[in-house]
């Protein structure tokens, strides 16, 4: 694998946990132990009920495309070669939204409401990014 030059998450705090699960092939979000609300991005306590009690609970991995953009001209040098590339916001069945990309659908074919499911792309030895593919069936 040639050296990966794009920005990477910093494996600290809750992000270390989130991406640790991704590396293990699991998409997990925080879920409140008080009111059962799911949340993303990770937070310290539940903004719905104030509980500090939470677990990393596994997502079904299924969701639908909430919105997206197609970047025609990259505004970050590491993505210059990638353009045009799409960035998608996926609304998961649990209700939380995740910024990601749909890997197997060309930008022209993207459609809001499209059903997708999570997959993982190992971009370095330490980091796998959660990406999406068109849902099967």
């Amino acid at each position: 694998m040639s050296e990966y030059t794009r920005p990477l998450p910093v494996l600290e705090g809750h992000s270390a946990d989130f991406y640790g699960f991704c590396k293990a092939g699991e998409l997990r979000f925080q879920r409140c132990g008080g009111c059962q609300a799911w949340r993303h991005v990770p937070r310290e306590l539940c903004a719905e009920c104030g509980s500090w009690d939470w677990e990393w609970e596994r997502s079904s991995g299924k969701g639908e495309l909430f919105t997206f953009t197609v970047v025609g001209r990259a505004l970050h040098p590491a993505f210059a070669e990638a353009a045009p590339y799409a960035v998608s916001v996926v609304e998961m069945e649990e209700g939380v939204r995740l910024l990601s990309r749909v890997a197997d659908v060309s930008p022209e074919e993207l459609e809001i409401g499209m059903r997708v499911e999570v997959d993982f792309e190992a971009v370095t030895d330490e980091i796998s990014l959660p990406i999406f593919r068109r849902a099967s069936g």
């Binding site: 794009r6 920005p7 990477l8 998450p9 910093v10 992000s15 989130f18 991406y19 949340r39 993303h40 991005v41 903004a47 909430f66 919105t67 997206f68 953009t69 197609v70 970047v71 025609g72 001209r73 990259a74 505004l75 970050h76 993505f79 990638a82 045009p84 590339y85 960035v87 916001v89 939380v96 939204r97 995740l98 910024l99 990601s100 990309r101 930008p107 809001i112 971009v123 990014l129």
Partner: protein, 385 residues
């Protein structure tokens, strides 16, 4: 609360190539000196300074200008929403005795210096939620403002049927106004809808011409109490009310229950309520136009039209001079220069003084200025002659 007024305005030249030749600080000092002198004040009388976030410190402004009696220094950390939000804080300061004369400077070398497109990637702490962007946006190539906001525009198109031609109408209105403003960098460069539609996609649905200019320049205003304003050199422009607000959550743009609820959704009714007027009473609007859709969305959230109706609202010349609600008569960030929203306040002051010649809004009595920053922070000031 007693009223406060804007009593001085100042600007530098606005330029792109080859660049201002001045430091970021010097640009802002030049605009500040002009604003202070226009008001008929001495720098030593400026006892409040509110620098734009991340672009300077009150201490260095004071030391360079000679503000030896500085008492009040504060920055409202709302990105492009800071100038109009700072009017609120400055009004409070002068009306509670915290300061007599407050300077609001802004300016940067947005063309010849670091470009906005680079700042977040290079310094995530420059925005709220910087670590969120670093860990959850940047790895996917979601790195810069037009990309962040384009997903809102896309969703608006999906929910309400908003069309590219309507975003184009906004770009065209700003460009048309720039033809009446010799200072505007797009003066002498008219644009047609065909030009707009043919411009390359930057972050679909944002084309090149949906995006603000990157320019060098500075602008500043001075605020004081209505009482003190009476003794000064200029015709004071009254701050009827000003308010600011934040979206929720403000540090993450994708997980909002209602993604069209922004800071302005909170700020607008607050300001109109304080002033005891409605959007129907407004003669013109200076809307923070970082990108076309943000204009459309802010027009909706201010209440000039209902949510979802912004597309039809901006059509047919309604937001052009001579229309029902002239927007950004200077050409805005899209066609004059990107002066961080301070130039919107400057233009509003000129409209209310009534000395704008062929781009004067006839009998302008009340104007609105908005600000938009970071992931949707909002501010709104109601100004009157």
């Amino acid at each position: 609360m007693a009223e406060a007024c804007i009593v001085g305005i100042g600007e530098t030249d606005y330029c792109r190539k080859p660049g201002s030749g001045l430091s970021q600080l010097a640009l802002q000092l030049q605009a500040s000196s002009r604003a202070i002198a226009e008001a008929g004040l001495k720098a030593s009388e400026i006892d409040g300074i509110m620098p734009f976030p991340n672009l300077g410190r009150a201490e260095e402004f004071a030391a360079n200008l000679g503000c030896e009696n500085l008492r009040y220094a504060a920055t409202i950390h709302m990105g492009g929403a800071a100038p109009a939000a700072s009017l609120q804080a400055a009004a409070m300061a002068v009306n509670t005795g915290m300061a007599n004369y407050v300077l609001l400077p802004a300016g940067w070398n947005g063309f010849s210096g670091a470009r906005v497109r680079q700042t977040v990637a290079q310094d995530v702490s420059s925005i709220p939620g910087g670590a969120i962007a670093r860990d959850y946006y940047l790895p996917f190539g979601f790195t810069a403002p037009p990309q962040w906001y384009s997903v809102l525009a896309r969703r608006h198109m999906h929910e309400f049927g908003t069309r590219s031609e309507q975003l184009g109408a906004i770009a065209l209105a700003m460009r048309k106004h720039a033809q009446l403003n010799p200072k505007a960098l797009m003066n002498g460069k008219p644009m047609t809808l065909d030009d707009y539609m043919a411009s390359p996609m930057l972050a679909d649905p944002y084309r090149f011409f949906d995006c603000c200019l990157e320019t060098d320049g500075g602008a500043a205003v001075v605020v004081t109490s209505a009482e003190r304003a009476r003794d000064l050199a200029t015709r004071p422009v009254r701050i009827l009310a000003a308010a600011c607000g934040q979206p929720y959550p403000a540090d993450e743009i994708t997980n909002r229950r209602d993604i069209f609820k922004t800071g302005l959704t909170i700020a607008a009714p607050e300001a109109f309520g304080q002033a005891g007027i409605t959007p129907a009473d407004v003669d013109f609007a200076m809307i923070y136009d970082c990108f076309t859709f943000e204009v459309l969305q802010q027009l909706e959230e201010v209440g000039f039209c209902k949510r979802g109706e912004g597309g039809p609202f901006v059509e047919g010349g309604r937001i052009e001079l001579g229309g029902e609600l002239p927007v950004n008569t200077h050409g805005g960030l899209l066609s004059e220069a990107h002066v961080l929203g301070m130039s919107h306040i400057v233009e509003a002051v000129r409209q209310l003084r009534g000395d704008l010649g062929e781009r004067q809004v006839k009998d302008a009595q009340v104007g609105v200025v908005t600000g938009w920053g970071d992931f949707g922070d909002g501010s709104l000031a109601l100004l009157a002659r």
